[in-house]
Symmetry: C2
Subunit: 206 residues, 2 copies
Amino acid sequence: MRVTEETKLATRSRILETTLGLLKSQGFETTTTRDIASEAGIAAGTLFNYFPTKEAIVMQLVADALDSAEAAFEKRRQDGASLEEDLFLHISTGLRQLRPLRSFFGSVLETGFSPARSANPNDLSEELRTAHIGTVGSILVRHGRESPTGIELQMYWLLYHGLLSFWVADGSPKQEDTFAMLDQSMRMFVNWLDTNGKTQRHNTPF
Amino acid sequence: MRVTEETKLATRSRILETTLGLLKSQGFETTTTRDIASEAGIAAGTLFNYFPTKEAIVMQLVADALDSAEAAFEKRRQDGASLEEDLFLHISTGLRQLRPLRSFFGSVLETGFSPARSANPNDLSEELRTAHIGTVGSILVRHGRESPTGIELQMYWLLYHGLLSFWVADGSPKQEDTFAMLDQSMRMFVNWLDTNGKTQRHNTPF
DNA sequence: GATATTATATGAGCACGCTCATTTAAGGAA
DNA sequence: TTCCTTAAATGAGCGTGCTCATATAATATC
């Protein structure tokens, strides 16, 4: 059974669309891989020729959304904005694109967005992180700063991860609380960047 | 079949000890609930008379560790310490107690430590959060500040959650990287508290 | 003691994500 | 056309976390 590349791409797209629809209406836990396969018109096992796990399908949906968010940010940004405003806009644009995925985004948060660097540098989450961080770097440069150092990136990602995690469980009507947190976080981060450097270290207790 | 309260408590303890041992040697995924049950000397189904889910067992182990960490912190703290140092010590004492659980701690991180408030206020994670936050409040008061407001607590928990998440995946030999992040985080947080305008010092130094 | 009551223990069984030996069919060689 | 090769599709089957109808035994009542 040899199938054209075209057919395979079409099947892959059908899986992604089907999954998105089912997850939106039923959530992550109640949508089974058998559901997805049957609605995509393939056998249960065939699904796993296209994606290694159920989570990987969700991760692809997330990666697509965030990919288009990077472009959307470049269009939306204003030249007069402050550093905090640009960082705020960057993240909030991502959240806007992720909005339809919010109800099941939690299923990939911990595996895909961990604040420590992933063990597997070839997967989607690392690409996504690199793209996001790259934009952050260019924002900083645009505001007359050096490219961020390792620990600065780690601190940024820690905050970003925390915000995503907050957003997922945010019970306020339109997630206003998350945006308040985002505002404060970016203010806090920029201030930390500025006052950083004249720091003394604690001894680690081990 | 009526069994004394004593027997039930003993069974419960056996489940917890057995689980801890198996998780340490095999990890979360490869330890099955059937393994736990059989090593604890009960039937597979009986396990779920004692804990609603596999994760709940882990959560109990975590809660016990963090509970003893609260007491350990009170003993370890020094009177001359700065606010940052006390906050650093509080969290690092928790990490020290959690150390043996690190390899499987990730399995309860997202459900038990979400930065947004839990929907279920009666479960272990809410107790744990309340205890931790209570200590944070008393630390702040001890350093001449008011009890933290809602958003201040949320920002704190966001950082704490992020640090735990970093720690779980920290690849550095003794998780030094986490302690460097912790140091920076507390510095950043305290600085934010000060410049935020929402916290007033009782005794400003001038 | 004998019997009834009932809290607890039990394990067969369910639905799940995922695997893998087998089947199917498209493209090449004759 | 006929056979061969092989990439992709298939679905029975595995081990999992967890449920639930049933079995069991400790206590209450007589």
